[in-house]
């Protein structure tokens, strides 16, 4: 029934409203809203389909998956995945002894498990330290095959843990806990004093279930993952310290931190790696030599630390002054103020740029190829050089890109999730 107007006249019938829900409506609204847009849609869709058809044809239909050598792939017009198939273990594990390559495989899995566990916010307390301690121990035990834990290290950890716990919990903890922290610290200090004085001889606890494999033989994905994971894991707290130091009231500390950050940021990573790799050995006394892998790792940590410091400083500066003043008014000391009030808020703000830095560094580790360390990209390169399989660089690089993409995309998704999670309190 048509509507009647006040004057009793019948209004003219109108067209029914266009459907604005459903697939067709969505298409019309988003893809074919005007002649120009329709044309664009058709051209782009055509291009996409053409590309997809070409890619599927090349990568799947005409591809060679099994072959003795690259000769079998010549002239097929398809991808030569047989090359990846043949070189898979070289690309993933480099020149790690062939029969022992289950070890780096398990090490990769252990590291991934460790990283996935640390992604869960419920783990962000003392559990994280345990996950990392176990994960790192397993990883390096598998990679090295043998680890000799110096007793001194255990006591240094005790000293640091005791000092940290005491500083943070001094005001709030019950007496018993405070005493426990002090005892831990005292034990560590006592051992170190005795050790330095020469009363106690240095000892190591050997854990040696497998054959020893030195870092020179490591290669492929474990190298990339270790360099990136431990580079960033060490650079993160160190970057935070640098950022705090840069905002410190003590002029000497501030000057040191500013100087360091500016120096490191002022040079390319390659030059740091080359310094660590070529020049450092020449300045060391004869007979003393650091592992090349360790040197690269330290260079990555130094470099990443400076960048993370600047990112964190951005977060620190975004905090309103009232937060600091309120913390002071509560009677919190510097350590407590920083750990409980300042950093949680500052770090939340900088998660996107921080993950951005992480992703960047994950890929930057490929630069170690200039000093002859075989990271994932470099072992992929080595797979290319084999004349038996020569002439298929596309496949290898595509595969390497795919692996890198998997890692970087997961990091990016995680950053998105974390942002949502941590901003729940401020969302309306």
């Amino acid at each position: 029934m048509s509507q009647a107007t006040e004057a009793g006249q019948v209004a003219p019938a109108r067209l029914p409203p266009t459907v604005d829900t459903g697939a067709i409506a969505w298409l019309r609204k988003n893809l074919f809203s005007s002649v120009g847009n329709s044309l664009t849609t058709i051209v782009l869709a055509g291009l996409l389909v053409w590309l997809a058809v070409w890619f599927i044809d090349w990568a799947l239909l005409k591809a060679t998956f099994q072959a003795e050598s690259g000769q079998a792939c010549v002239g097929t017009g398809g991808a030569c995945w047989a090359l990846i198939n043949d070189k898979l273990r070289l690309i993933f594990f480099g020149s790690f002894p062939y029969e022992e390559q289950w070890r780096p495989l398990l090490a990769i899995l252990a590291m991934i498990a460790m990283l996935v566990l640390s992604c869960d916010r419920r783990m962000w307390n003392w559990r994280l330290a345990i996950v990392w301690a176990i994960g790192s121990f397993v990883t390096f035990l598998l990679m090295f095959g043998q680890i000799h834990i110096p007793v001194t290290l255990i006591f240094v950890v005790a000293l640091l843990a005791g000092a940290g716990g005491y500083l943070l919990r001094r005001a709030t903890a019950p007496d018993m806990e405070r005493i426990a922290w002090i005892v831990l610290m005292a034990l560590g200090a006592l051992y170190l004093v005795l050790r330095v004085a020469g009363v106690i001889r240095g000892a190591a606890i050997p854990v040696a279930p497998f054959e020893y494999v030195e870092t020179g033989l490591w290669g492929g994905l474990p190298v990339t993952m270790i360099l990136a994971t431990y580079g960033l894991a060490a650079a993160f707290p160190y970057g935070i310290l640098l950022a705090l130091g840069r905002r410190s009231n003590l002029p000497l500390i501030r000057a040191l931190c500013v100087g360091f950050i500016e120096l490191i940021r002022g040079v390319p990573l390659i030059s740091l790696l080359i310094m660590a790799s070529f020049l450092l050995p020449l300045f060391l006394p004869p007979g003393v030599s650091f592992d090349k892998f360790l040197r690269a790792q330290v260079a990555v940590i130094l470099f990443a630390g400076a960048y993370i410091a600047e990112v964190v400083r951005g977060g620190l500066q975004s905090l309103p002054k009232g937060q600091f003043e309120a913390a002071d008014a509560m009677g919190l000391n510097y350590a407590q103020k920083t750990a409980f009030i300042v950093l949680p808020q500052a770090l939340r703000v900088v998660i996107p740029p921080l993950i951005n830095t992480f992703i960047g560094f994950f890929k930057d580790t490929t630069l170690v190829l200039v000093i002859g360390i075989f990271d994932f990209l470099n072992t992929a390169n080595a797979a290319l050089v084999d004349p038996k399989w020569a002439g298929f660089p596309g496949e290898v690089y595509l595969f390497a890109a795919f692996v890198y993409f998997c890692f970087c995309y997961s990091m990016s998704r995680y950053s998105k999730y974390l942002e949502r999670e941590l901003n729940k309190g401020t969302q309306r």
């Binding site: 020179g216 070529f278 470099n378 020569a390």
Partner: protein, 341 residues
């Protein structure tokens, strides 16, 4: 090549202070007590040093590393390979990160003296050569008058090319492209008649990049000298001797027909030279400070020079490099071992 020379000069400037600073004879002792030889190799060059699908290093340079280990320890597997880049290699040797460098390094006066190194031998004679398509019908570089030549700019390769054509009163049109991949692309797509670089590089390019490798030939003329060999630091002549004679033992073994297969029968040979090489007549090992079986172990575990060449570079491999300059002196080449006596 210019890049190499520049690196050498730069290293020479910064490192002159370190040249000759080493003490007498420490390297060999360090190697013996360590239990393995640390050998600097390339990060991957087909035929010379390359990790295979199982991550094992193979190649002509790698074989020389293995030979030294066989000589010192009687076990060719006691080698640790340190992949080095072109810029990093000399520092690695100077800073004692490696005991010897077998990394397709050209023997030049600068490197031999100012850098504080000794070249122990030449395990591959390289030099600049020319590659042309077969359909051009050219058999010699002397017939290349008026050709267009693909060449990398700013290298000694470019200068050698100009010198060679001027000396032979010929003209050429250069096609200079900075990036080597694009340069190869240009050659194989027919933009130029000739591609020139080091001969071993030409063979590798033909094997790896040519659409049909058989359509291209490498001309016999070699117009520059690139003697590639193992390098050791100044300061331990005994170790340098061991490296040098390990190479000579491989060459000498080929000359006298000793191979990894027949070496055990050769122990019974009456030939006094073979007896000396294989340690049946003692003396040689003692002179080097090694076991008398040193050369026997090299030949048994690594093979003679010819075997190594054929296995890594020869006609059976995709590289298909002819012996050419690297044939024995008795067969018109330059591989000439000093007598083991």
């Amino acid at each position: 090549m210019v890049k190499r020379t520049m690196a050498a000069a730069a290293a020479a400037l910064t490192l002159t202070g370190f040249a000759g600073a080493a003490q007498a004879g420490p390297d060999f002792d360090a190697i013996k007590s360590r239990g393995h030889v640390i050998c600097g190799v390339t990060t991957g060059l087909a035929g010379f040093a390359l990790a295979d699908s199982q991550g094992k290093w193979k190649g002509l340079d790698v074989d020389l590393c293995r030979a030294t280990a066989a000589a010192v320890f009687g076990d060719a597997e006691k080698v640790k390979y340190v992949p080095t880049t072109a810029q990093q290699r000399f520092t690695a040797l100077q800073s004692k990160e490696v005991d010897l460098l077998v990394r397709t390094t050209t023997w030049t006066l600068q490197r031999d003296t100012a850098l504080g190194f000794d070249f122990a031998a030449v395990n591959y004679y390289d030099g600049q050569g020319f590659m042309v398509p077969k359909k051009l019908g050219v058999k010699s570089a002397k017939e290349l008058d008026g050709a267009t030549v693909c060449v990398q700019p700013g290298t000694t390769t470019e200068l050698n090319l100009a010198d060679y054509f001027r000396a032979n009163k010929m003209n050429f049109k250069p096609v200079v492209i900075e990036k080597v991949e694009e340069l190869r692309q240009a050659f194989f797509s027919g933009r130029c008649d000739v591609y020139t670089t080091d001969a071993s590089g030409l063979y590798a390019t033909r094997a790896a990049n040519a659409p049909k490798p058989d359509d291209y030939i490498i001309l016999p003329e070699i117009i520059s000298k690139e003697p590639l060999g193992p390098v050791v630091r100044h300061g331990d002549n005994q170790w340098g001797d061991i490296v040098r004679w390990s190479h000579y033992a491989m060459v000498e073994a080929e000359e006298y027909g000793i191979t990894s297969k027949n070496v055990d029968e050769m122990l019974k040979s009456d030939n006094p030279v073979i007896k000396r090489i294989l340690g049946v007549t003692p003396g040689m090992g003692k002179a080097l400070g090694l076991d008398e079986k040193w050369a026997y172990n090299i030949v048994k575990q690594v093979g003679n020079y010819g075997e190594s060449f054929e296995r890594n570079l020869g006609m059976e491999t995709p590289l298909k490099i002819e012996r050419g300059q690297n044939a024995l002196w008795t067969k018109g080449g330059q591989q000439y071992a000093m007598p083991i006596r």
